[in-house]
């Protein structure tokens, strides 16, 4: 099929940027969206034009790198990552608009690449368990109900892509932060530093300039890993609990 692509081009952070239209032809339905962009880029390079820069890595939906806002939806029309979107989701003659994640806290670096360092800094502020583990104990020595383990596992599948932020009209990061807080708060090992963790990560989230949650639900509707909104509710409970129970001596 042949397609028209309207792609956001931006030379660097301080450049104003703008849309540019490109035509691609002979695209097979079995191609992935990114493979289609690869073809465009090869053509651009051959013409001496700067290729469209976009983040990607595993191309299998597990690394969280790819981050394209396609036809107004993060990762496009399917509820998967951009790299798992295939051209059979589009029709011959379609016009496809491609933009970077739009959020103040994700400044554009170049073209479709944004800086998601804010997420790294949130994790650095408390998204871990800081104990010396010495030798490895038998994992089965620490009992945990399967239903709790499953819930923690589901929260842990968040790949930190940022689609939730891009989908949210407030550019809130609550789904991401709540997934990371939940994953540890639910597990026995995460009880250590539990209150502190919630406070610190939420404080960093606010510092980064993400918006507040107004219960729209666009985040979990678009999340490629189907992270549930109930994580946000859990995070709010963690935040409240941290305000009445402190680990500080």
């Amino acid at each position: 099929m042949n397609l028209t692509l309207k792609i956001w081009r931006q030379k660097n952070h301080s450049d104003k940027g703008g849309f540019k239209a490109y035509n691609v032809t002979g695209i097979s339905v079995d191609m992935s969206f990114l493979e289609m962009l690869d073809i465009l880029n090869e053509e651009l390079i051959e013409k001496g034009e700067d290729p469209v820069h976009f983040d990607h890595d595993c191309r299998e939906g597990i690394c969280g790198s790819c981050s394209l806002f396609i036809n107004g939806r993060p990762h496009g029309p399917q509820q998967t990552t951009t790299c798992q979107l295939h051209m059979r989701s589009f029709k011959d003659g379609d016009t496809i608009t491609i933009e970077p994640w739009r959020a103040k806290s994700f400044p554009v670096v170049k073209d479709l690449v944004v800086d998601r360092g804010a997420f790294d800094r949130i994790i650095q502020s408390g998204g871990f368990v800081s104990v010396n583990t010495g030798g490895v104990p038998d994992a089965n020595e620490i009992p945990i109900p399967k239903i709790v383990a499953d819930e923690a596992f589901d929260a842990a599948t968040c790949i930190g892509c940022g689609a939730c932020v891009a989908a949210c009209k407030n550019a809130s990061a609550m789904l991401f932060v709540s997934a990371k807080i939940s994953q540890l708060a639910l597990l026995p090992q995460g009880q250590v530093e539990r209150r502190d963790r919630a406070e610190k990560m939420i404080a960093q989230m606010d510092l980064e300039g993400f918006g507040a949650c107004s219960n729209t639900g666009a985040c979990s509707a678009e999340c490629p890993k189907e992270i549930k909104q109930s994580n946000i509710a859990r995070m709010n409970r963690e935040y409240y609990a941290a305000s009445v129970v402190t680990e500080n001596v």
């Binding site: 030379k11 660097n12 097979s28 339905v29 079995d30 191609m31 992935s32 990114l34 493979e35 289609m36 690869d38 073809i39 090869e42 390079i45 051959e46 001496g48 034009e49 700067d50 290729p51 820069h53 990607h56 890595d57 595993c58 191309r59 299998e60 939906g61 690394c63 399917q78 998967t80 798992q84 295939h86 059979r88 670096v109 170049k110 690449v113 800086d115 490895v136």
Partner: protein, 454 residues
């Protein structure tokens, strides 16, 4: 990382390029640990993430760290087949599927052709017309034979003309019997996410039609030579995980790459690097030491060179060409003639790359093309070494299969008397042949035998 810096024979830091500003920076350290992954992307198509590359290990190699057994590459039997020339990477279907799936191709070439032309459906082929070749050939291991055996067999049946997709390079992994036996719900609870992924990528539903799979490059057993403390032959330079050569010999078993990463990083190096540091005088090496400056200059020169060639071919063009050469001549089956031919082809490709590659943009911005160009340049040089290594090893061993050395049944034939060693290659300089050092493998408690999965 663009380079390792060696001061007085010890690794004392690295030189990096800031990916956003392009700034070249030196970082000094008491020890350097390379946990930089494997070189599967030398084949262009692999199951690795597209950013995975050999550069950190390769630059260390050019500074004197031996590179071992580069021809020991693992081809994983169950990956989604290539769908066309546009293919950018191969998707792994977890090996756990082989617990319940049955591998088969049709008994006859005629039937395979009908399948390829979509004149019949796989579900309509009766069991007596199906060749469950792993179960027949290896009665005791069946579908659970090791990866190199499963991959070579898949290649065999496809080379015979019995491949089941348009390109003729696919075999079936069928869950019909598992679903009949256990019910779709149980199969879904075990493999649901994998089946969903398969459906997403191919548009086909493995609950209703057999999965198609084909071998793909997945892991590299070769890597930087290390001792039992995970230190390379350069004091202070360590290599962990897939970046080193150490744990898997010629053939890695499933789930053990993860095991190695954890073992190396959690159980071994915290103790061994501590021992090294304890014996190191605590002097800091300043980043303006001449060796750092020398590395920085070399890095800047290389960047300038790549940006100035302004040829006519893209970086991906060379990467794909290299990948095809390495896959065809140093893939699942290798011959001396093929390897010699491939070495010459790669030499030619290298010359062409350095005179005709086109890298647009500048060094002082985010520049994916520049990043890729560096990686491909290093892959090209690694490709040459892989051919040398495969040529030197006149036996078949694990992932290295030389057609001239096989048993009458087509299995790998080792020559333990002459080749029970680790090949550790030393870089001698641009244009010069590398020198082979042999680390003899002496087995005291284990007797070397021929693998048999019958």
């Amino acid at each position: 990382m663009m380079d390792v810096v060696i001061v007085d024979g010890k690794a004392r830091g690295i030189v990096t390029r800031n990916l956003i500003t392009g700034a070249i920076e030196s970082h000094s350290a008491h020890a350097v640990l390379l946990c930089t992954g494997g070189y599967g992307n030398v084949f262009y198509l692999s199951t690795n993430a597209m950013g995975s590359n050999v550069t950190a290990a390769w630059r260390a190699h050019k500074k004197g760290a031996y590179f071992s057994n580069p021809c020991y590459t693992q081809i994983h039997p169950t990956c989604i087949p290539v769908s066309g020339d546009h293919q950018s990477k191969l998707t792994l279907m977890s090996e756990s599927l082989r617990n319940d799936g049955r591998v088969w191709v049709p008994m006859t070439i005629e039937m395979a052709e009908k399948l390829r032309k979509k004149q019949i459906k796989p579900q309509d082929i009766k069991d007596e017309d199906r060749d469950y070749y792993l179960e027949t050939k290896y009665p005791s291991f069946g579908n659970l034979v090791p990866r190199d055996v499963a991959s070579r067999n898949a290649k065999h049946v496809c080379d015979e003309g019995r491949g089941v997709n348009e390109t003729g390079e696919a075999v079936y992994l069928d869950f019909r019997d598992a679903i009949d036996r256990e019910g779709e719900d149980l199969v879904r609870s075990k493999y649901g996410n994998l089946f969903d992924m398969y459906l997403q990528i191919t548009g086909e539903n493995p609950y209703q039609t057999p999965m198609m799979i084909y071998p793909a490059v997945h892991y590299t057993m070769g890597g930087l030579w290390v001792d039992y403390n995970l230190m390379t032959n350069i004091p202070g330079l360590y290599a962990l995980g897939e970046a080193n050569f150490s744990d898997h010999g010629a053939n890695r078993l499933g789930a053990s790459a993860l095991m190695q990463g954890l073992a190396d990083g959690y159980f071994v190096v915290p103790y061994t690097v501590g021992d090294y540091l304890a014996n190191l005088a605590n002097e800091k090496v300043p980043v303006d030491h001449p060796e750092f400056k020398k590395s920085e200059d070399q890095v800047k020169e290389r960047i300038q060179k790549l940006l100035s060639i302004n040829g006519t071919k893209t970086i991906d063009y060379y990467h794909k060409k290299l990948g095809k050469i390495v896959w065809n001549y140093c893939g699942m089956a290798r011959t001396a003639d093929g390897l010699l031919k491939a070495k010459a082809m790669i030499k030619e490709l290298k010359a062409e790359f350095w005179s005709n590659v086109r890298v647009l943009g500048t060094g002082e911005e985010l520049n994916h093309s520049l990043e890729k160009a560096h990686r491909v340049a290093d892959f090209i040089e690694l490709g040459e070494l892989m051919m040398d290594d495969a040529l030197d090893r006149n036996e078949s061993c694990g992932g290295h299969f030389r057609e001239e050395y096989q048993t009458p049944e087509g299995e790998a034939l080792r020559d333990d008397e002459n080749y029970a060693y680790v090949a550790a290659w030393e870089y001698m300089g641009e244009g010069l042949e590398e020198v082979l050092h042999k680390e003899e493998l002496v087995y005291e408690n284990v007797k070397l035998t021929q693998r048999s999965y019958k």
